[in-house]
Symmetry: C3
Subunit: 675 residues, 3 copies
């Protein structure tokens, strides 16, 4: 349910996490002055403040927070008030050592870091509800508070928990899910390796074992872990709603967290928010950024969302923490905005002198307000202030990419045919192909209504239920184009191989099943003949059994030499394409061109390949106008085709606007050019 | 003792593990029909069925197994009935949590995987004896049952165990081994690093320690661990023998398990059986297969053995699980057969839909009976049915390769001169040299009577007792040829350096000792001049002290530049060769040629190098005939020289038979060509 | 306090660890005879003998040690008598299992290795004091005993300890350090991530946590761990001093131990001693040896020190244990001597047949007295006997290199801008530049009086307190030359970023601060223009803000392209240089040449670059003469310029002495050439 209104209507929210408890009182005044200078209109407060708010069990000290909220309000800065449940104080764990999360070897997590509570612990749950209740009663009516920020990045750094409380909760969860032990034994296939359960209390959690654990158990354990976290979120949310009207959020980590099924989470929050950080080893990390933004917008159902955290420059927790170069922060921010974010926020306002993240960049770095970073922060604040009219406008797409956390969890289990074929790698490669072709995409769940899309792409649908396969088949039969990547529809919701063999549930849609998976030996030369092209491939091949599909690509070399590699199948009004090998970014290009043609994408949408590679163009549609957001990742200028008004300069754009190397632009389009 | 008769006289057993408890009853009927189609005459049943047979402590349900055995018997399929001791049920561990194996950090192993019981646990031992007793009483007279299969792959996945029961058992074992603490302190050299023991109950197991553990303790711990497993085997075997007449086996993993001294194990079973899987990263994995088969036959004393498990195509537990290509399964099976296997069995009959190994290939894959794999399975079944007359025939060899698990255990301990010089690598390289030269070999224990061999090769005899060294010396003095690789005879049975220095016990036989080991720096260019050749080498050199040997090879470069590298020593009627560096496969070729000449191998045996590399020719000798088994690993046809009858086609072979690329053949030789 | 006299006045001590308890009594007689043959005059005894001296709690057996000391004394061999506190016996841990060190996951360390006691344990402390007291009472007056050797290599293999006793001791230590919880919370920045402490007993140790631990806590934990070890040393030392007059030492591991702040340790011992082993992967390990020797001499305040352990040839605990080649042992020994060692000792006298280190070389190897190693040992013994007049002479240097273990500990904490920029790598590279240039150096603490040095080099001063920065600034203002490497003065003693930003405390001295750290992407091509040269660089760059410095080098390429890279700043009478990137050994050469000129090093000291690379020349100054020690690491002869007497040959040197490839020489200089 996304029922509540945007907290800053008509404005792009700008700011970040603000942790003034780390600084003397006199610094607060400097902070608010500099915030105004930088255009900050929104800060998140209190995320790690439990120990300062509840100084001993049931003993509260809200004076400093009262003063802080009043100060911010006086300066026109809206507050996203956090519950501090991610960091219970030292006294809590000293009183309730059993409330600590325990790792799979039975080691309870220690204090001195963050996020060590067992989400199954009754004592923890009682304590977080009590704290949320206190905060909501006190600040539910405070004029500064426009949003509630529950907890922080659920599932990071600890999600799995093998404490006694967690194991008891797991047994209850399974009983509720399966009803009978017969159902559980069947779902988990416990006949294999002699794992039959005859009593509920014998069911174990997947802790330390001599070798691989039952995969269906592990998949359920992933669902359970996610559910535990969400249960805690709901407890806090309800405690807040009892006394407060503002919307409630929690910050996701789309495509950077393994433990949260965001399709489910998005239904629980009033506003979707997301944290995103560039991954330094990736020289094209801005593609992953775009993926993350599209995924966040998609789980939010297309509604406005908040970029709750990103960084002004380097982070500190990677091996090499590469600083952003001049202009890069603005490009990153504009990509988020172009893909639907109505808030551009950072971790954090002022760099910490102490602690684990003192080398993390901030809006106000250690070097102070004269620094390059602060100058760019201020420039960006000014520019975003010019974009208030974009607030609430939407992004639309003709292409859906299927993304299912359950398939991610299942494919990442142990003992697959090849550990080189990975969900996230395939997702990124397929997404990047679309990104480079300039094709806007939504992400979708395989159970969603897909009828609005011309093309549906399934890069990593290893786990695909019979029902979801039928949904996809129906989509094709009604005229849709479906593109499926290898190792698809192998297993059902219990990680059990589908009856009929690999891929059987998609046989109608694709006209093909898989007799055997054929991982390719490292270093072996394998190609696929596709039209006139020879596409290099590696990692994975399959032995296909055609049942109606036509062969569009053929293996050259490798374990499937001479056999079909890429197929196309007409089914009803539509067509299903299957790519049985792990093609790389370049090799996918001609395949996608054929699929775009099939789907009629070029007909009335943006023509794939209009702009050069690395020139990122996005469109948002408001009630009164449409906007083109352009981000130039290239080292030379590019001419944007547009007609309208450059919102940064307020000058008219009459057909073309040159975007400097590394530059950005936002153009309000004339009505005749709204797409 | 291998006292019992072959369970299927005059037949090659064919089939595999059969786990019908994973499937509905109606599938069983399809199974037996397809088994008959495929030529299956033998299946292993019940390996993981404990929880379904003893549903609660002392409560049994044999109805389904009764029905299954009757069904198989009715269809003429013999049964290898397993005891399920590898997988105690969930109720067992719930009742006896102390019966779990514990890792070196004190973490007890959890349920949900397999093989977590402590073999030292009294409760476990009582439970397995009770179950074996029940099975033997009920099925000892069942006509389907022709063999008992105790447990499964002892030592995998858990062998070491630090539970309280294991530590108590360890102290008893040591007391029995050493008698006095003085003897233990001396054997372990506890004076080093202050490890003296003054009371038996102070003796610890080699659990978590700050740095390296006493190596003699670890070596004894390896012996103890092996003994514990074997003690459990004996308990089950005796429980069976009390009520049943059929032979008893357990499946070994020759050269793929670290924890079992198969020379000792083979004395305990009635029939030796072995599991073997190809290791995907090894492009020449069929050489390791041949090694494993020769090793299995050797520990069996040359008697017929069973290939209890191998795979029809890919396994699932490696990083990349490479599928077998058409024909490869048959080549693998024929190599096992050619090296003495009278049973060709698979894990498993029907691929599991669920569980950890659902991506493991099977005789009947997920893709069903129309699949390539099932067609090849059926073809192989038909061919093996034509080979019944080979059952009971033997393999003979003029060359023995020394293989001692105690030396493997000792060499793999920590803090050796170089961790690059490894037992298994040296064993494989020396074996592969012989394999490529087409020389049949047995493996032998260094304490065996070696007088029947022309050549004895010691690739990795780091641990060599004084008595075993005397055995080798005696062998040479009586006219044998001995070839010893580097780092030999360094330590005695307590991993203590031999008095007199490295290699001293072999000084008489080799005419050389080692003053200092000289590991070669990575990347350093070193060669050995040998006759006209310059042999590249790496990893290891030695500073030799000659005491009679002649120099056959000299170091060029490296830490021993200009000094002797390869020596030959006449001792009595024979000669001892010593190779003091880790020569590779190619570099070993001229050395072996010289040694073959010395041993007179070419005189009346197969001439090394008769066939091209990769054309594998084996011979079995029956009472009435001899058989040549040929396996062509090459990509072109090869002409086999033979005179007799092609058993697959029943056509005469008159001097030459062309074996297609990737093909196989079995020829019953005319009497004049029995070798 | 280094108050006591040298134990063997006028002699270079020669010998090693002697562990006769590993051998039968008759071997002892052979040992002392061979020791005399080899020139041994000093052995260390009893390091691991606790279990043989105290056979049960309070039950002593000194008879064998009495006999041993008498035997050694009778043969004129002085004894360094050890307390065996590093290895409590099995009975001790059986009686006091709580006295075991515990790892961060809560696993107590087991017996059977070495060094597992908790230094915080009251039972352990009581036991070591009792044993030291017994030894001192019995042997304090023994004429053989000239030195006490307390414990062995403190901190190896275990330093960190999470036992209950350690945690209690930690809380007391913190209370003493900080006085109030307010001070602790401020110092650790506990406001970050909600780590505030409200009670002392809630303060945890940095055991297993979900993610990174508070870095200031970890830094204090390093200090605490070091202090715990030193406290134990003091307890033993005082127990000895109560009954004995001989000096007391313990063997350090300069630059090879992480856990001991040797500036503090050196104040506690009467004589500094050090263990050093070559690191095999390092082809220039003799440079690390020289560094270690200079560092040891420096912590000893320039006084004579003992090389307590090194090896005659290979060690056994590395991956590849490279044996020393002929002459290498003597070169190593002479380098130690040339850098101030007045004792050349080995681990160990006779190679052990058993135990973890049987493959470690010894003075008397397994191959016995006819071996190359023993011959070279004997030769070295003879040569050192000719060098007695050097005993007590000193080394002097014009250059100081700053070395602070606190900075090492802090820089090695997690979550730095780049894990590729490391304290020890930078220290080695800067040191090696000076070594190759032939420039003698001392190491110094940043708080030391530096006025005696022409040049001070700070390769790795990440942690630099305000006071120490002022000390360096004062040094410059008084005319010194200071060369500072990148990432300097980032944090204070609490690992908190200095107010004013990175490098602020050195702003006066260097005329520059750092706005942002800019780690360089792996593989990116970056150079620095410096004078006419283009210096390649990698890993690290910085965004500098000049406040007076002149630019001497400019970035070409990379994240700081075109910006200042190397600066020079005149401050008062001196100059401060700053190198903001991680230049390699070659790239540093022209920078150092400029700095040598600035410091006037060539004016009256040794001219950098006089000798070819790899010809190592050292000078020691006695009261009556100076000595040049030359070590030729090159593969060709080099002519040493000297006038005096060759002490090995006793022949005059008249201007030049040719040192053979791999050779060494010691020349007593004529008075006119005393430098």
């Amino acid at each position: 349910m996304l029922a509540k209104n945007w907290p800053l209507p008509g404005k792009i929210a700008y700011g970040g996490d603000y942790n003034p408890e780390q600084w003397p009182r006199e610094v607060w005044d400097e902070d608010v002055a500099l915030m105004r200078e930088a255009g900050v209109n929104f800060v998140s407060v209190g995320i790690f403040s439990w120990g300062l708010l509840e100084t001993a069990e049931g003993v509260y000290d809200f004076a400093w927070l009262d003063e802080l909220l009043d100060l911010l309000h006086a300066h026109g800065i809206a507050v996203d008030l956090a519950t501090p449940s991610v960091s219970p104080p030292a006294w809590f764990f000293a009183a309730y050592p059993q409330a600590r999360a325990v790792d799979k070897n039975g080691v309870p997590m220690g204090f001195g870091s963050r996020g060590m509570a067992s989400h199954a612990s009754a004592e923890y749950r009682e304590a977080i509800v009590r704290m949320a209740d206190q905060l909501a009663r006190r600040y539910g009516q405070h004029p500064a508070v426009v949003l509630w920020h529950v907890h922080n990045e659920y599932g990071v750094p600890v999600a799995e928990d093998f404490s006694d409380a967690a194991v008891a909760s797991w047994q209850s969860w399974l009983r509720a899910r399966y009803g009978t032990l017969e159902a559980l034994n069947a779902a988990w296939g416990t006949a294999f390796w002699g794992q039959h359960y005859a009593q509920w209390e014998h069911v174990v959690a997947p802790a330390a074992t001599p070798t691989t654990v039952n995969p269906a158990m592990k998949l359920d354990w992933g669902r359970f872990t996610d559910d535990q976290l969400r249960e805690c979120f709901r407890l806090e949310r309800e405690a807040i709603r009892a006394h407060a009207e503002q919307p409630v959020t929690t910050n996701f980590m789309a495509h950077q967290s393994w433990n949260t099924d965001l399709w489910k989470w998005a239904r629980e929050v009033d506003i979707v928010s997301d944290d995103h950080y560039l991954w330094s080893p990736d020289p094209e990390a801005h593609v992953a950024l775009a993926l993350s933004a599209d995924l966040t917008r998609s789980v939010a159902g297309g509604r406005p969302w908040m970029l709750m955290e990103h960084s002004t420059s380097a982070v500190n927790w990677q091996g090499h923490n590469i600083a952003k170069r001049p202009g890069e922060m603005q490009r990153n921010a504009l990509t988020h905005l172009g893909r639907g974010a109505d808030a551009i926020l950072f971790f954090q306002w002022r760099a910490s002198r102490s602690g684990a993240e003192k080398f993390h960049s901030a809006m106000l770095p250690h070097a102070g307000p004269t620094s390059r970073v602060f100058r760019e922060v201020t420039e960006l604040g000014g520019r975003l202030a010019q974009l208030g009219e974009l607030q609430g406008s939407r992004v639309s797409a003709d292409v859906a990419v299927l993304y299912d956390w359950e398939s991610l969890w299942a494919q990442d289990l142990e003992w697959r045919p090849s550990d080189e074929l990975q969900f996230r790698e395939r997702m990124r490669t397929y997404y990047e192909r679309l990104w480079r072709d300039g094709v806007p995409v939504d992400f979708a769940h395989p159970g969603d209504d897909l009828s609005g899309y011309r093309l549906v792409v399934a890069p990593a649908s290893y786990l695909l239920t019979q029902a979801h396969a039928e949904n996809l088949t129906h989509y094709v039969s009604c005229g849709g184009t479906l593109l499926v990547s290898c190792f698809a529809a192998a297993v059902d919701e219990h990680d059990a191989v589908h009856p009929g063999g690999f891929g059987a549930p998609l046989q109608d849609a694709l006209g093909v099943t898989v007799e055997e998976y054929l991982p390719i030996r490292t270093g072996e030369q394998v190609a696929v003949s596709f039209d006139a092209a020879e596409l290099e491939t590696s990692v994975w091949a399959e032995d296909l059994v055609l049942s109606g599909a036509e062969v569009c690509g053929t293996y050259r070399g490798g374990p499937a030499d001479g056999a079909p590699a890429i197929t196309r199948h007409q089914h009803g009004e539509g067509a299903g394409w299957y790519v049985s090998t792990a093609l790389g970014l370049e090799a996918l290009a001609p395949v996608f061109r054929a699929v775009y043609d099939e789907a009629g994408l070029a007909a009335d949408g943006p023509v794939p390949g209009t702009y050069p590679d690395g020139f990122e163009v996005m469109t948002r549609h408001g009630e009164d106008a449409a906007y083109t957001i352009a981000v130039n990742h290239r080292e030379e200028p590019v001419a944007l085709k547009a007609r309208g008004t450059d919102l940064f300069t307020q000058r008219p754009v009459d057909g073309e606007l040159t975007i400097a190397a590394g530059g950005t632009a936002v153009v309000r389009l004339d009505n005749t050019h709204d797409r």
